[in-house]
C-alpha cells in the first residue's frame, strides 16, 4: 500500500501549494467585521452550505442532548469544574507541570504567540525536521505556528480532512468543527486533483466528487506523511493537573496517527485547558461530543501521560501558552469565556453566524464565542476586535446551547459598554455610541422595557431594537434581514439577568 516518498520532486512543481493563507485572507489585517460580513453575505455558496450545515448539526445535537435526562446536571457540573479550576489556576498549572515532568514530558511556558512558536521551531530544528505533521489544533492556529515553521523552512502538514482541504485550497478555516464548511464537494475534488501531486502522493486520476472517494484520496495522500514524519504537533482538549495527562478528542484517526507514530510529540496547550483531576473527564467526555458533533461519543479519544516506554513518541513536550488568557482571566465578567471547550454549539445556533460564516469574524475563534473571546484576549482597543461584540442579535441561543453555560449575551453587553467607553474616550459621540445609548435606555429600565414590549406585539418590540442595534453600529445588517429573535429565549435570558448595571452605567 505504501509508496516511496516523492514529495521532494513534486514539491518543485511550478505553482507551489501555499502552506499558509493567501495574504488577503490572513486573519491578521482582515477587513473589519461589517465589510467582511457584507462580502460573505453576497456569497451564495457559502450561505447555502452554512445554512445546511448549521441546521443539520443543530437538529442532531438536540437529539444527542435530549436523550440525556441529566443534561442540565452535566452542564452545571462542567461549568462548576471549570470555574473551580480557574479560581485556583496557578496551583493547578504547577501541579500539572510536576506530574507531566515526572511522567517524562518536558513542560515549557510561553507568554505569547511568538515565544510559543520559537519553542516549537527550536524543537523541530533540533531534530532536523523538514516536515512536521499536525492534528487540528486551534491553539497552534492562534499562535500562527505553521507560518513560523514555514519561515524556518519547515513544512507543517495538516492531517484532518477538512484542514487538508483548507490548506491545499490556500484559505483559512471558517468553522472550528467543520473548517471546510464553505467548500462543496466539487471544489474539494478540484483542489485535490490540482494540488495533492505537488506536495506528495497525487490524487487518483479518476477521482470523483463522491465523499467516499475524496476521503480515500486523503487517506492515501496522508498515510505516506504519517509513515515518514518524525515530529508531530498537536493541541489538547484537556490537560489533567493531578496526573499530567493530555487528552485529544477526534473523529478521523489522524489524531491517533500524529499522537502515536512520530518519535517526537509537541503539544501546544492553552493554560485554560486544565482540569483538576482525571475523574473530571467523566463530565467533559459526556458533554463535549454531544455538543460538538452531536454524537454519543466521538470515534477516537487519545489520552497520554508523558512518555510510555515502547509505545508512542519517546520525546514528549508540552508548551503551556498564556497569549492573552490571563488578561481574559482578570475580567470578572468575561473570564467565564475561558470555560469554553470549543465544541462549536454556539456557532451552529447563532443566526448571525449562519448568515455571515466564520471568515467574517477575522479570527481563529469565530461565532458567538469568538465575539467575546477575541476582545478578551486582545482588549477592545484593537479596532477589529472592538467591533465583534456588536456582531450579535443577543438572542441568547448561544447560552442555551453552551455545555459549560457561558453567558455570552451578558459578556457581550459588558463588552459593548467597554467598547463604547473606549470610543468615547477618544472622540466626540459617534453614531455607534448614540445608538448604544438609545438601546441602553430601553434595556436599562424594567419599566421602559415593559412599555416597549407592550407597544409592539409581545416581545417583538425588544427584538426589533436588538436587531437594529448591530445594524446601526456596523452598517451591515441593512444588506440582509436579521432573523427574528426567538422570543422565548430572549425573555428567559432577560429575566435571568440580575445585573443590568453595566448597561445602566451608560445612561447619562
Amino acid at each position: 500500500m505504501s509508496r516511496p516518498a516523492r514529495h521532494d520532486r513534486r514539491r518543485r512543481g511550478t505553482e507551489p501549494v501555499r502552506l499558509h493563507p493567501k495574504p488577503d485572507q490572513a486573519f491578521l489585517g482582515m477587513p473589519a467585521f461589517p465589510d467582511a460580513a457584507r462580502v460573505a453575505l453576497g456569497d451564495q455558496q457559502l450561505r447555502a452550505n452554512l445554512r445546511h450545515a448549521t441546521h443539520t448539526i443543530r437538529a442532531k445535537r438536540l437529539n444527542a442532548v435530549g436523550e440525556m435526562p441529566d443534561w442540565q446536571d452535566l452542564r452545571m457540573a462542567a461549568a462548576g469544574i471549570k470555574d473551580e479550576t480557574l479560581a485556583h489556576l496557578d496551583d493547578y498549572l504547577v501541579q500539572f507541570e510536576q506530574a507531566a515532568t515526572a511522567a517524562g514530558a518536558t513542560v515549557h511556558w510561553a507568554v505569547d504567540a511568538e515565544e510559543a512558536c520559537r519553542i516549537g521551531v527550536e524543537i523541530a530544528q533540533r531534530h532536523r525536521a523538514r516536515d512536521v505533521i499536525k492534528v487540528k489544533s486551534m491553539a497552534t492556529q492562534e499562535i500562527g505556528l505553521n507560518e513560523a515553521l514555514e519561515a524556518h523552512g519547515i513544512h507543517a502538514w495538516e492531517t484532518d480532512l477538512a484542514e487538508l482541504i483548507v490548506q491545499l485550497g490556500g484559505d483559512t478555516p471558517s468553522h472550528f468543527l467543520v473548517p471546510a464548511i464553505h467548500r462543496n464537494r466539487d471544489e474539494i475534488r478540484d483542489i485535490f486533483t490540482e494540488r495533492m501531486g505537488q506536495v506528495g502522493r497525487a490524487a487518483p486520476d479518476d477521482l470523483t466528487s463522491e465523499p467516499r472517494r475524496l476521503a480515500e484520496a486523503a487517506r492515501l495522500h496522508l498515510r505516506e506523511k504519517f509513515l515518514s514524519t518524525t515530529v508531530a504537533f498537536s493541541g489538547a482538549n484537556f490537560a489533567i493537573a493531578e496526573t499530567g495527562t493530555l487528552v485529544v478528542v477526534e473523529s478521523e484517526g489522524n489524531g491517533r496517527m500524529c499522537l502515536t507514530l512520530p518519535d517526537v510529540l509537541v503539544s501546544v496547550v492553552g493554560i485554560e485547558k486544565l482540569l483538576p483531576s482525571f475523574a473530571d473527564l467523566e463530565v467533559f467526555l459526556q458533554v463535549l461530543p454531544r455538543s460538538s458533533t452531536a454524537e454519543r461519543m466521538n470515534p477516537y479519544t487519545t489520552m497520554w501521560t508523558g512518555v510510555s516506554p515502547g509505545d508512542g513518541p519517546q520525546e514528549v513536550h508540552v508548551i503551556l501558552i498564556d497569549n492573552g488568557r490571563t488578561r481574559a482571566l482578570a475580567d470578572e465578567v468575561g473570564r467565564q469565556a475561558l470555560r469554553c471547550i470549543r465544541c462549536s454549539a454556539c456557532l451552529n445556533v447563532c443566526p448571525v453566524y449562519e448568515r455571515v460564516g466564520g471568515h467574517a469574524y477575522g479570527s481563529v475563534y469565530p461565532g458567538p464565542i469568538g465575539a467575546i473571546l477575541n476582545p478578551l484576549l486582545h482588549g477592545v482597543t484593537d479596532e477589529h476586535d472592538a467591533q465583534l461584540p456588536f456582531a450579535s442579535s443577543l438572542c441568547g441561543a448561544c447560552y442555551e446551547a453552551c455545555p459549560v453555560a457561558i453567558d455570552i449575551p451578558s459578556v457581550l453587553i459588558d463588552q459593548r459598554a467597554a467598547a463604547v467607553r473606549e470610543k468615547a474616550h477618544h472622540r466626540v459621540p459617534t453614531a455607534e455610541s448614540v445608538a448604544m445609548k438609545a438601546a441602553a435606555w430601553t434595556f436599562g429600565d424594567a419599566k421602559r422595557l415593559a412599555r416597549a414590549q407592550k407597544t409592539a406585539s409581545l416581545g417583538r418590540g425588544v427584538a426589533r431594537h436588538v436587531g437594529w442595534l448591530p445594524g446601526m453600529l456596523g452598517g451591515w445588517t441593512s444588506s440582509r434581514d436579521l432573523p427574528e429573535v426567538p422570543r422565548q429565549s430572549f425573555r428567559a435570558w432577560w429575566s435571568q439577568r440580575e445585573d443590568t448595571a453595566t448597561v445602566k452605567a451608560l445612561e447619562e
Binding site: W109, A110, L227, S251, E252, S308
Partner: protein, 205 residues
Amino acid sequence: MSSRERILSSVRTAITGATAPVVPRGYADRLELDAAGQIALLVERIRDYKADVRVISQADLARTIGNVLGERSASSVVVPADLDPQWLTTVTCEVLRDDPPLDARRLDQVSAVVTSSAVSVALTGTIVLDAGTAQGRRVISLIPDLHICVVPAQTIVGTVPEAVRRLDPVRPLTWISGPSATSDIELNRVEGVHGPRNLVVLIVN
C-alpha cells in the same frame, strides 16, 4: 523573570478575590440495567456507529475470529505479543506477533489486527484500550484497516463515569466508538479516513 514566573504571577493577580464554587455533581453515574441489559445496549449503540458486533461464547471465540478474517479476505493479521494462542487456532492467514515490535511500514502491509480491550461503555457504545493484557502497543490497533476487538462481558460498564473510574490514567488510553469517520465534506458521514475503516466487536459472554 522567567516566562513561567510571569504567567503564574499574572494568573495570581487575575484571580485575586475569585471564589471557587462547590461543583454540583447531580449527574447520573450508573444505569438501572442488569448485565444482560448492558450487553444489549452496548450492541445497539456500537451498531449505530456502523460497526459489526456479535455476542458469542468463550468456546466460539477462536472459530469466530477465523471466520471474520476469512469473510473479510484478510491476508495477514497482527496480534499483541501476549495474545492467547488459543484465540488463533482457526486462523488460516499469515499471523504476525508484535514481538519484536513491528515497524509502522510493515504494519501498513498487514490487513487486520486482533486485540482485547480494557473497559466498554454501554450507554455510548465505546470501547477503551489501555495497552494492557492482549491489547498491545497503540500503533498495532491503528494502522491495519480491520480491527477485530474482543470485549469480555465482565469489562462492560453502563456509563462514562464508571469507565473513567476503572481506568489508570498513567497508561496510554484509546477510546474507540465505531470505525474512523469524518463529516467534513458537506456533512456526509463517511466511514474511514485514517483509522481502521472496519471495526468488528466480539462480545464474549
